[in-house]
Symmetry: C2
Subunit: 410 residues, 2 copies
């Protein structure tokens, strides 16, 4: 596996573009399109929020039958969620406008939206911009850059990655773009049953069946997007979409094969890179924190414990204050609804155990203080209840986070 340039346009046969269609007051790009030259196997995972945007409902319905897909159209600045029957119609109109301009079927177009909830999408302006969007499609890094910009909301940087790997003697490429900075606490499943707005669109030229593709995606997001939290708030619009157009002409990647493992590993590396990029670009974030949970009964328990700590306002404000306040870590993990042995609880800050065997381990205060002044902090918590673990990533809660989100007007 080797990192390459190009994001979603790195794999053969994909082009992308982005324009300003009239949603964002800043007049920045707010509408993007990713298109494959030929039909693709498609996979997706979606928010598990019970309140879901129309685009999530539509993609879920389309992908249920593992159809061929060709394109993804997405807007930013408006989530088109809780906008009633007209909002549902607008999602359909976005798909149809892209399909018509590209000369493909409506059902071959997947739709995504991100932004304010409960506000009518300016669909007329959006539709009028689709011809420009299509004529601006580019197969090179320029197309990818424009698309990556057009999905941003409060993000301060674009998020992209692409890799190539060898599969059955052929070079397979995987590329992706993503957005996400606030309302980040994803828990996505293939049926969107239960958690951020984060969007990630992944393309690959691999030959792979829709079923194998979907399972590979589910594995890839498990230890990446589903292991991060910026602010503990899950969005109504989260989704990861994956299109595979088979242009690499490798032998089809079969289930449980070495090729599938290699492909999933590469996909997982892309997802983890982008998930971490979201946390680094988290709204108001001044810290990048890795929380490792050990001694859990199950990986699910470890994830729950990690995300509970990552969601604690008291833990996050202590991190912002560079305060090695491990008591808050212990108090917070104690509220997680998982098996634990409080008498065996252990807490490690960086390489220093501060609580071990229910006893406070004396530390040089200056050393811990220095550790917590760094941007990157690693915390380990051992629940003393089993042999499973998980790693989650989070940012701190800063005065800037509050400013961003109290000024973000509807």
């Amino acid at each position: 596996m080797k990192k390459i340039r190009g994001g979603v346009t790195a794999p053969r046969g994909f082009s992308a573009g982005g324009v300003f269609c009239g949603i964002k007051a800043s007049r920045k790009k707010d509408l993007m399109l990713v298109v494959s030259d030929g039909p693709c196997a498609a996979g997706g995972v979606f928010t598990t929020n019970r309140v879901r945007a129309h685009c999530v409902e539509r993609n879920l319905r389309l992908l249920r039958n593992r159809p061929a897909a060709r394109a993804v159209i997405a807007n930013s600045g408006n989530a088109n969620c809780l906008t009633g029957p007209s909002g549902r119609r607008h999602t359909e109109m976005m798909a149809k406008a892209a399909a018509d301009a590209l000369g493909i079927g409506e059902d071959e177009v997947l739709v995504a939206s991100t932004g304010v909830i409960g506000k009518r999408l300016p669909i007329e302006r959006l539709m009028r911009s689709v011809p420009d969007l299509v004529s601006g499609l580019r197969p090179n890094p320029a197309g990818n850059q424009a698309a990556a910009q057009a999905i941003l909301t409060t993000d301060t940087v674009i998020k992209e990655m692409a890799v190539k790997l060898g599969i059955s003697g052929r070079t397979v490429r995987i590329g992706a773009i993503a957005k996400g900075s606030g309302m980040i606490h994803p828990e996505m499943t293939p049926d969107g049953l239960r958690h951020a707005t984060m969007l990630c669109f992944i393309t690959t030229d691999a030959v792979i069946s829709p079923d194998v593709l979907q399972r590979s995606l589910e594995k890839a997001i498990r230890r990446s997007f589903n292991m991060i939290s910026v602010d503990g708030d899950m969005s109504t619009n989260d989704m990861v979409l994956l299109l595979a157009n088979a242009k690499a002409k490798n032998r089809p990647i079969r289930e449980k094969s070495a090729e599938e493992a290699a492909f999933t590993r590469a996909l997982g590396a892309i997802c983890l890179h982008l998930a971490k990029a979201m946390v680094r670009d988290g709204e108001g974030a001044t810290k990048f924190v890795e929380i490792q949970i050990k001694g859990a009964r199950s990986e699910a328990d470890a994830r729950e414990a990690g995300l509970t700590v990552a969601s604690s306002s008291l833990v996050k404000t202590a991190l912002f204050g560079c305060d090695p306040n491990w008591g808050r870590l212990a108090a917070s993990v104690g509220t997680a609804d998982v098996e634990m042995n409080p008498a065996k609880l252990q807490v490690k800050l960086g390489r220093h155990w501060v609580l071990s065997g229910n006893r406070v381990v004396k530390q040089k205060k200056a050393e811990l203080a220095r550790l917590f002044r760094r941007k990157n902090i690693k915390i380990t918590l051992d629940l003393g209840a089993g042999r499973c673990g998980a790693t989650v990533w989070t940012s701190d809660l800063s005065t800037q986070y509050v400013r961003i989100n109290s000024a973000y007007r509807t």
Copy 2:
């Protein structure tokens, strides 16, 4: 029921006091004692955090057998939690010091602590202050004031209330003091099985058996302390203790009697007043928000939905920004693990429905903006899934909250 002066010293036969014993750097009062002239029936509810302070463990053990109790000793500034076997010994020493100075049994003294976790209690200084504490006990409002001050941490005001009511021809008094400003998201049960540091000590001169007293307390906290959240973080030390010394000489309050109902109503009113006082004094709070959940399958579902919304950083920062961003309310309630019908979700801000029948109800922007500039805000969410409801209370998430909690050094 009539409000009276005096807090915990309002009921006959109770005295209280508070001194500075050497824990707080500010040199403010940090050790308090509430004592009854005679033996009391005692009840209590405790944090459900799996990580619990030694004082919680000790009170749980003592109260299991419904013993007679006489006194409560409590310190602030140090939670004496995760302090190992020496910490456990220090809790016992606090009880013994009070018992010796008062000439009562060790097991008649209940202990509470609040403050920093994982730090050794300066037990020598604390013990040396107990004689002064005992000699300063007063039965009048002065004793109550000193005790109420000595349990405060980040609180800006003392919290107290007392009432009197007629029971079987006699006047029964109930009085209480409480503290709580941050780490407030209580879920207390009689066995401390599962959620803030909040402390509340209640006294009464009613004649009531320990069992009836305990059940009455459990009912009283259900729709008060267990329905508030300041920052979503549950403490390791939360507790409510209730002592009844029978000095009112009423006929014993029997289970399921009209007297029990009246007593529980009065107790509930005190708990609700103090719970709301904690939210109003929430760390950095600029808003007092009532969230009413309707249309839930059960009251437990309604509580869970309400506390989920009350714990959302995006909802709380919008409130701080005076932003009627109801989309965040809907997105947040959608993540609650309860039955709901998203298509029937309804949202009301003050008296204005903004989402009804999954359609946005047009509003005058200026009116909603005016509504959200007020200090007191009422929000109603109808889940469309049943006929049950609950009301929770919360504060906003301000830049000041972040400052307080990033500067609060271990």
